[in-house]
Amino acid sequence: MAAAAELTLAEIRKGLSWRKKLDTAFMVAGLLVLIACLGLLAALFLDLVHRGADRFGWDFLANFPSRKAERAGILSAWVGTSLIMLVTALVALPVGVAAAIYLEEYSAKNWFTNIVEINVTNLAGVPSIVYGLLALGLFVYAFGLGQSILTAGLTLALLILPIVIVATRESLRAVPKAIREAAYGLGATRWEVTKDHVLPYSTGGILTGLILGLSRAIGETAPLITIGALSFIAFLPPSPVTGEFPFLNFEWLKSEFTAMPIQMFNWVSRPDQAFQANSAAAGAILLGMTLLMNALAIWIRYRFRKKINW
């Protein structure tokens, strides 16, 4: 402690005040960086809305794409996106929830479960365009599904599967052990415990995970381009609901499609300023859809949490 003893009180005070100044400096710098980043992003988003502002309106939603920028709309794009999301949700929800239930409630800790878990983690890090290549080789050509809404929905379902699985596992884990043991104590089998007791409590978490997954899928462009989405579609897929028996029609699954992000991409790469305004408007609407879905997820999480008290 010889070195320390040689410091005079004045020197220690000087060092301390220097260190405190550094502290304040970092705090200010950190806050500034945070504000700068969020502010820059906010400015970009507002500018996007501003540039697209002239195009918002009923015509934009109800018109097909057109060679004339002022007549072009996003009808086929938002219908395509909605139908793709429907397929994605219908595939990702059951498969993702079932896989999560298996991992969380059924499987023993062994090498097989480990492999599945490592797979789920790794899949979350695979670039989305690689899913597009997978779908191109497998769904489009090997399975012969073509460049259809079904292919697109399946591709995006695989893409968001890790998100759904992870969210479901977390909400299953949050259900207390005592609830399961009480049901087992009354003679319920494992599936009865899961179906009647664990799943009802975790519905909120599962739905939140699904919606967050869909909000990621709705903006995915690269995989859809890879499987061959077209950007100029001036027709709607056949309607899923018909007037005649059996009232449901699955022809739309085989239809060619375009989607919101594809439409935006197509317009952004044209040099014409009028099309760029269309692109901004489509982007703002796409952004709005994403934000709405996230808000919905937060609301659902909040509602379900309020109902549960153990």
Binding site: M27, C37, A98, L134, L138
Partner: protein, 308 residues
């Protein structure tokens, strides 16, 4: 009293057998769902390797790795992947130069300095930003950031890797900040208190105790950021140009691996042509690059993992 007469049957041996059998069937179905994840991985690797094998029966691996020209769709076809790799690495590098320092700084600020209220407000916003479609960021890069950069750097082409890289960097800042903040929050409180008791300031504690303690988590955040930057497609396809050029100069236009795949997919290439197969070879390289960084990350996080 019909309830009591049916009760023995409901709880009888045959009913129990039925329920147990149903359980076995359900377990099998759930197992199959779990296998979808394994199947996806196998299918990705399988499809990439299978389609690439046709490509490599046509092009030698030596030419693929050493030629510096990539023109598979031209009459004078060259199949050197290096221009696409250089484009990908340059964009990733620019993105990380922006994202790692700023993301880490925001993470430290939020975890160690910000008030509880500010943190609880900013965290959901950061997570929300992760859901913004990348095609929107592509619009930012091409039509908002590039015009500004052109004023600062005269002669900057309309398509350039600098703008794409900067926007990707901006895009992954929230990601690194959020994951990094989680890692720092996981460092136990007593370690900070030990440091304060020794007379350290907040900044000293943050830099010498919290950051080293959270290093494995931070490294994981960086690796995820790198993976996202390498695999990012729409921003580069829109803003960095589609021309494969062997250059590491960010102010030039150049195609990345992902941009090339998009470019080919936009055209109408016949199934089984060399151009069609080339996107799978490019995809394989992309996967391998992501894999290399993930393996590095795995060993880094293992080496620096702190146990409390």
């Amino acid at each position: 009293m019909s309830e009591s007469t049916t009760a023995p049957a409901r709880f009888g041996a045959s009913n129990l057998r039925y329920r147990k059998n149903r359980d076995r069937v359900v377990e099998l179905v759930l197992l199959l769902a779990g296998l979808v994840a394994v199947f996806t991985t196998v299918a990705i690797v399988g499809v990439l390797v299978y389609e690439s094998s046709f490509f490599f029966s046509h092009v030698s691996i030596r030419e693929f790795l050493t030629d510096t020209v990539w023109t598979p769709l031209f009459d004078d076809a060259h199949y050197g992947i290096l221009p696409l790799v250089s484009g990908t690495l340059t964009v990733t590098f620019v993105a990380l130069i922006v994202a790692i320092p700023l993301g880490t700084m925001i993470a430290i600020y939020l975890s160690e300095f910000a008030s509880h209220r500010l943190r609880e407000t900013v965290k959901p916003i950061l997570e929300l930003l992760g859901a913004v479609p990348t095609v929107v960021y592509g619009y930012f890069a091409l039509l908002m950031v590039t015009p500004i950069l052109q004023k600062l750097i005269p002669g900057l082409p309309g398509f350039n890797m600098l703008s794409a890289g900067l926007v990707i960097g901006l895009m992954i800042i929230p990601y690194i900040a959020s994951v990094g903040e989680d890692a720092m929050r996981a460092v136990p409180r007593y370690m900070r208190e030990g440091s304060y008791a020794m007379g350290a300031t907040k900044l000293q504690t943050a830099l010498r105790v919290v950051v080293p303690g959270a290093f494995s988590g931070l490294a994981a955040a960086y690796i995820l950021g790198i993976s996202r930057a390498i695999g990012e497609t729409m921003v580069v396809a829109i803003a960095a140009g589609m021309q494969p050029t062997f250059t590491f100069n960010p102010t030039e236009p150049a195609a990345t691996i992902t941009a090339y795949i998009v470019q080919v997919s936009l055209g109408d290439l016949p199934h089984g042509s060399i151009g069609y197969q080339s996107i799978f070879a490019a995809g394989l390289v992309l996967m391998l690059m992501t894999l290399v960084f993930n393996v590095i990350g795995f060993f880094l996080t293992r080496k620096f993992r702190e146990a409390y």
